[in-house]
């Protein structure tokens, strides 16, 4: 009996030690790996860093609207509460003024601040850990050249118990392993470059993977779709959602660079990624990402819960929906959902419309929106918001119709789901 207790206690202590070790151990990282992103000769380290910071989209989170570049203060809403990004300018008091390149590497590679405290994964170091040391150093060198801006850090507003930073020890033990990207020797250079961008610097999986109740991405190298910033980020490997394996490479490049492509356009958080970051990526890097995305093993879209619309109601909804469609939508999207590019995308055969998760089409109809204004699409056409003209039931009806007309095979949308999406910050 006593022996059993001792064994149990030892096991418990062992498990705790393991958790602490996994959560707190320091990892110098493989500093021998050289970045696959060789840049044209003649570019200074700072210029290279500037480019990397752009493609890493540090701006989107670390600059608040109307605030100084990289001075932080932007609110990032999550299910755990609101995070406020810190100041990355070289101000000694409120920014990174007293940081060394080693401190910066520790943050990017290990997710730990200068004083050793653990960082929340709202900062996607879970992706940036794949970066090479030379890329981290170049980014830091660029950040040093910014004007120092005094902007004090705002405290995160997190729910209990997430407001206890030390609990991240357990989270990290479960979900985080630091590790620099290791090239796959079976693949060519361009593929490896793309993988490094998509998995690491571009942190696509930070949005495109489903997260569990603790905010950890659920799968590792198999992006599976998830809710982010009130939008649904579709699964990057599933052709029924965001998979682009069957697209010509030029179209993938156009989507990432211009924000629109034949039959698709970027919305909400993805429009931000294009506008702030991807439109500035080099032709070679865009091509590399397209190469890698095309090579992903196609997956089935993630399973969704059953729809809460009784089947007998669906016919009526569709009937009402077809009238609403004719009155409000057909003038742009066409009588048969065929669209009128570039003025309006087709809704027929458009996976952004038929995807199992109806969040995005609901938000588009309620709040409207413009594709990002990029060099390739500088004067986008806009989708009008219908939030004040159409009731929740109307929106459910017209989407139920749109998702099932003209050969589309999407599931019905309930008024309750529309109501849920009227709230929350716009993105």
């Amino acid at each position: 009996m006593k022996r059993a207790l001792i064994i149990l206690a030892l096991l418990g202590a062992g498990a705790a030690a393991l958790v602490f070790w996994l959560g707190l151990r320091s990892d110098p990282g493989d500093i021998s790996m050289v970045s696959p992103l060789q840049t044209p000769a003649g570019l200074s380290v700072e210029e290279r860093g500037h480019y990397l910071v752009r493609v890493g989209d540090c701006m989107a989170c670390h600059t608040r609207q109307g605030g100084a570049d990289y001075a932080g203060g932007r609110m990032i809403p999550t299910p755990f509460g609101d995070f406020y990004s810190p100041n990355l300018t070289p101000d000694p008091e409120t920014g990174l003024g007293n940081w060394s390149a080693d401190d910066f590497w520790k943050a990017m590679h290990e997710g730990r601040s200068r004083d050793g405290s653990l960082l929340y994964p709202a900062f996607p170091y879970t992706n940036y850990t794949k970066l090479s040391r030379d890329d981290s150093d170049a980014m830091f060198a660029y950040l040093r050249t910014l004007p120092a801006v005094k902007e004090a850090r705002r405290e995160h507003q997190l729910q209990f118990p997430y407001n206890y930073r030390f609990l991240l020890v357990g989270w990290r033990a479960l979900f985080f392993r630091p590790g620099v990207y290791q090239p796959d020797s079976a693949q060519d250079e361009q593929w490896n470059r793309g993988a490094y961008l998509v998995q690491g610097l571009g942190h696509c999986s930070a949005c495109h993977e489903a997260r569990n109740a603790l905010g950890a991405v659920q799968s590792r190298d198999n992006p599976a779709g998830g809710l982010v910033l009130n939008w649904y980020a579709p699964a990057l490997a599933a052709p029924a959602e965001a998979g682009v394996q069957h697209w010509p490479k030029e179209d993938i490049v156009r989507l990432l660079r211009d924000g629109i492509a034949p039959g698709a356009s970027t919305l909400g958080p993805m429009a931000e990624v294009v506008y702030e970051s991807l439109q500035h990526a080099s032709a070679q890097d865009l091509d590399a990402m397209a190469t890698y995305l095309k090579s992903l093993e196609p997956t089935q879209p993630p399973a969704r819960g059953a729809v809460q619309v009784p089947t007998h109601a669906v016919d009526d909804m569709s009937k009402r929906g077809s009238l609403i469609y004719a009155e409000h939508c057909a003038s742009c999207h066409g009588d048969a959902g065929e669209g009128a590019p570039p003025a309006a995308p087709a809704l027929r055969g458009n996976r952004a419309v038929t995807m199992a998760a109806a969040v995005n089409p609901i938000r588009v109809v309620l709040f409207g929106g413009y594709a990002p204004g990029t060099a390739g699409n500088p004067r986008p056409f806009g989708m009008p918001p219908f939030g004040s003209t159409l009731s929740n039931q109307d929106v459910a009806d017209v989407l139920t119709y749109t998702r099932s007309a003209w050969g589309n095979q999407g599931s019905p949308v309930s008024a309750a789901e529309v109501a849920r999406n009227r709230q929350g910050p716009l993105w």
Partner: protein, 235 residues
């Protein structure tokens, strides 16, 4: 018009047997249809008191507002959401498009304000209140209150609710103009009664026969405004 062009597209389809798409004109008007959902057809304002008219306002003024929404100097979640990721050039083109629309104005809203209040409003507009350092609204917004191109808006043809909301926004710091923000300074000096009086009077006026903004300031600005450039902009 649309029907006709769709018919043409259909004909084209029949002749070519290619993929059908609705024909939608490649114009600025088509691009700006999304704005009509709130600002009314062609930006001439809806019955709802919170959506301002944008058609026919001076281009520079409209442009500054679009930039202000984009940069978060003027807070309105919907406006910011729509403009957040558009370039300066495109915002300028939007401003010029709406500034160039010359559309009839609806008659003013029926008004129940008592004469004393309207009198006070008229006084603020024409004379200001020298004792309290409030310049006449006329000095900047134009003799006829239809604004001055390119940067100063007219104040007629706006709903009472919208006007009051703007004064409130400057007070609470949710609306800012370029520094020095002359309107913020003026609003800080107005009492709630002044605001009510000025908004009541403004909302009750019919548009003059020529609703276009004046093309030059009557005299140099009484205080300088960061958003106003050109002759007479600073005193």
């Amino acid at each position: 018009m649309l029907r006709k062009s769709r018919f043409a597209a259909l004909l084209g389809l029949l002749m070519l047997g290619s993929v059908a798409t609705a024909a939608v004109p490649d114009t600025m008007a088509q691009r700006m249809l999304a704005c009509a959902a709130c600002h009314g057809a062609e930006g001439r304002a809806t019955g709802d008191g919170f959506y301002p008219r944008i058609a026919g306002k001076p281009a520079g003024y409209l442009y500054h507002q679009l930039i202000n929404f984009r940069e978060g100097r003027r807070l309105n979640a919907q406006m910011t959401y729509l403009l957040e990721r558009q370039s300066d050039d495109y915002l300028r083109e939007m401003a010029e498009y709406f500034a160039g629309l010359s559309l009839p104005y609806p008659p003013p809203q029926p008004n129940q304000a008592e004469p004393a209040r309207l009198q006070r409003g008229l006084q603020l507009v024409r004379q200001g209140d020298t004792a309290r350092g409030i310049p006449a609204c006329n000095d900047c917004h134009g003799e006829k209150m239809t604004g001055v191109t390119p940067d100063i808006p007219g104040l007629l043809g706006l709903p009472y609710d919208y006007l009051v909301a703007q004064f409130g926004a400057w007070r609470q710091g949710t609306r800012h103009g370029a520094a020095p923000d002359c309107m913020a300074a003026i609003v800080a000096k107005l009492t709630p009664e002044d605001i009510d009086a000025a908004a009541s009077w403004l909302a009750a006026q019919p548009m003059p026969a020529d609703p276009h903004p004046a093309t030059s300031l009557p005299k140099p600005l009484p205080v300088s405004c960061g958003s106003v450039t050109g002759p007479g902009a600073s005193r």
